[in-house]
Amino acid sequence: MNVIQAIGARVIARIEEMGAMLLFLLRSFGWLFRPPLRLFQIIKQLHFVGFKSTFVVILTALFTGMVLALQGYYSLRKFGSEGLLGSAVALSMIRELGPVLASLMVTARAGSAMTAEIGIMRITEQIDALETMAINSLQYLITPKMVASLISVPLLVALFDVVGIGGGYVVGVKLLGISGGSYWSSIESAVEWKDIYGGILKSISFGLIISWVCCYKGYFTKMSAEGLGKATTESVVLASVLILVWDYFLTSVLL
């Protein structure tokens, strides 16, 4: 009986947490439509989540594009169709690797920092201090982060795609010697609006997942240094897993 009780308690706790997460999301977005609009906070977060992630996104995108070109060249040469390298690189980038890898990088860089920042504010009573000043802490802290993620993740993904395709060009054309014309023309003929649209949709939903999970875990941090460490780890792991799982379902629907 005790085993069943324990399982039941865990299941109930999980369902309760899912409910709490959903309410957290809805309330945070609800506060977007009530004055005052925290424009300065949103811009600050855009700078933090978006601009400050550009370097790591460019770096990872470059090497992802380059290795894709290497691997693609190896595979395509077996069928004598190296000319399709451009489309292979571009389609994998735009449809899959761009949204997923850029989002994972943003999770690691900005998401973990979000959890830690909000968690420290919770532990040191700064969130309570906001509330006592008649300032809604969700509106002041969480809503700007969510808005900033929703805007900057798609932009970072677009940057990732472009740099990745460029990296593929450098390796495929400059190093491996396929013709530049066929690289670009194969991209032009293979990539459709549907591919780009799917990538954008993915990146918006990943932006939501990152800010939602990371802010939630920070906001409800247990009141200790250990709790904060745990919350940061959990937020990165949960956000990354959710991105990959959601990616599968979204791809299967969009295909």
């Binding site: 420290i120 504010m121 040191t124 009573e125 700064q126 309570d128 201090a129 509330e131 006592t132 000043m133 008649a134 300032i135 809604n136």
Partner: protein
């Protein structure tokens, strides 16, 4: 004659983490005075303080501020009530992303109480009052514990609140700094005449700065009395609690004498 009551707690029950912290607590806070809540650690003194400003809502009972029950109102109305309040937190709770000046200016700017040029006038004045002139550019991480408390006090006072809550304002400070903070609270109280509610362990110092003292024990108010009368109460639990620090002090001085 008892002064008018500004905050009234009636039959407040609160269970946190499966433990009954407050059990049918009743307490009235007189307007314009400083009331200090004492009691053993872990008795829920901070929890009581957080009920008064609506950070925690009671499971049962009423928390009446000027006759409005905080347990029954929505966030928006609660925010209106909170404009009467300021709170000095145990850790001072300064925003560490901002320097001292911006921390103190924060509630003024947020509530748009005054123009930016007045902010530039009021904030340095307030910093000077708490002894932090020329510290405006420093960040909380660069301040000592006592300076943080001073900055927190400036931030609490700058909006001219009717009621200020002090959550252990001197915990973690050396005796000299604790004395300075107590003196500061007293002189600010004389200047601004707010209603003060303090949670503190500093016996016997609190008797000289408080008008009223209330003791929290087993989730209820065991006794509440004028500060001078409180010290003469005969209740054994009160006696035990307020005399323990003296006993410890006495023991310390005896030891010193022995080692000499």
């Amino acid at each position: 004659m008892r002064p008018s009551i500004i905050i009234q707690l009636k039959g407040v029950d609160k269970t946190l983490g499966g433990q009954a912290v407050l059990r049918g607590l009743d307490l009235g806070i007189p307007k314009g005075d400083i009331t200090t809540i004492i009691g053993p650690s872990g008795e829920g003194k901070s929890v009581l303080l957080k009920h008064i400003i609506g950070l925690i809502r009671p499971d049962r009972g009423q928390v009446l501020v000027d006759g409005v029950d905080l347990a029954q109102i929505h966030d928006r109305e609660l925010n209106e009530i909170r404009k009467k309040f300021s709170m000095l937190f145990q850790s001072a709770a300064l925003f560490d992303s901002m320097n001292v000046f911006d921390n103190v200016a924060f509630p003024l700017r947020e509530k748009r109480l005054v123009s930016e040029s007045d902010v530039k006038k009021f904030v340095p004045e307030m910093l000077e009052r708490v002894g932090l002139e020329d510290m405006g550019h420093k960040f909380p991480a660069e301040l000592s514990g006592g300076m943080k408390k001073r900055a927190g006090l400036a931030r609490a006072l700058v909006v001219g609140p009717e009621i200020i809550l002090f959550d252990e304002p001197t915990t973690g400070l050396d005796p000299l700094m604790a004395y300075a903070i107590h003196e500061l609270i007293l002189s600010m109280h004389k200047t601004f005449g707010f209603t003060g509610i303090m949670v503190s362990h500093e016996i016997p110092e609190i008797f000289s700065i408080s008008d009223w003292v209330a003791m929290l024990k087993n989730g209820k108010i065991l006794a509440v009395e004028r500060s001078d009368k409180f010290q003469r109460l005969s209740d054994p639990l009160v006696r035990e609690f307020i005399s323990v620090p003296h006993a410890v002090e006495a023991e310390k001085s005896e030891k010193v004498e022995v080692t000499r």
